[in-house]
Symmetry: C2
Subunit: 188 residues, 2 copies
């Protein structure tokens, strides 16, 4: 079946919001690009803010699903590496110009508590996945290791945007390996 108008709007809005910014993208631009009429948007979403929230929520779902798929089949000792690799593939495929949640936090911190909270929750989800992965790798004893790896992934977002996937993802992997090796050493 063809994508519903609602899905067309979500996909179009996601692309425009990500590439051109939230406030800089008007409703008219979105409906025109989606090949849909103005009222159709307001039939599916109560407001622009609701549309933004829906875009972020659905994108985050896909992001989490891709991480979970990648780690599900990983063997113990390689779960965290699999997670970091999956994160890198996401950047490569869907997020080469910075993280949409970070952008949303920057644009809506003072304008929408709902959207800001949604972005913060998304980051908390990522940190939780790191903690779970470390646990499966037997590395959950080190206080702060999950947060340190989280910091690396956040930096990787910006590094990819500035230096390209080739360099940035190689650096991310090397950095992660160093951290995990040190952590492994402290265990034995």
């Amino acid at each position: 079946m063809p994508a519903s108008k609602r899905d067309q709007l979500l996909a179009t809005a996601e692309q425009l919001f990500y590439e051109e910014g939230f406030h800089a993208t008007g409703i008219d631009r979105i409906v025109a690009a989606a090949g849909v009429v103005r009222m159709t948007l307001y039939n599916h979403f109560a407001s622009k803010e609701a549309l933004v929230a829906a875009v972020l929520a659905t994108r985050h779902e896909r992001f989490m699903a891709s991480l979970d798929t990648a780690t599900a089949s990983a063997v113990p000792g390689q779960v965290t590496r699999a997670l970091v690799d999956a994160h890198g593939r996401w950047l490569e495929d869907h997020s080469p110009h910075g993280c949409i949640m970070v952008k949303a936090m920057g644009e809506f911190a003072e304008h929408s508590t709902e959207i800001h909270a949604l972005a913060v929750a998304a980051k908390a989800d990522l940190l939780a996945r790191l903690e779970a992965s470390l646990a499966r790798d037997g590395l959950d004893h080190q206080d702060g290791l999950a947060r340190q790896l989280f910091m690396v992934l956040e930096g990787s977002n910006t590094a990819v945007a500035l230096q390209g996937t080739q360099t940035a993802l190689a650096d991310t992997q090397a950095l992660t390996d160093t951290l995990l090796s040190v952590a492994q050493g402290k265990t034995e």
Copy 2:
């Protein structure tokens, strides 16, 4: 002497842009908050885009000066640590909600090549400072170490915004120490 109108405008615009976003902050808001009339702004800046560029440029100057001051007096072997600490103090004092350059890249990538280039250049300056610091510490042999530390600092920006300075800066320091210790070990 009291701050010039131009400086008042720069300071006010910097605060509003940083806290509320660039596109979300209108000219009227800025002039009202600065206690200045509309034409005064256009007497000093050709356009809103020029104002944004001036804000980013002056802020970046201050940022670089604070880094250089901190590293100038550092003893060899502690220069990079001093740089990372100075970066942390900057986040604490002036940038607790994310990096303004990252925000600018997100909002202007598709709208102003001048502003985008300015932000990219600012990030290149930071990376260059890391390379110079590592050289003074005798750690410039390790390929990619500067970029890895850069990645950590970029992640630190977001981590501070999400977890607060207390936790995030402690994690940043621990992470940096690990990386520098490993690099030091590889030298001997």
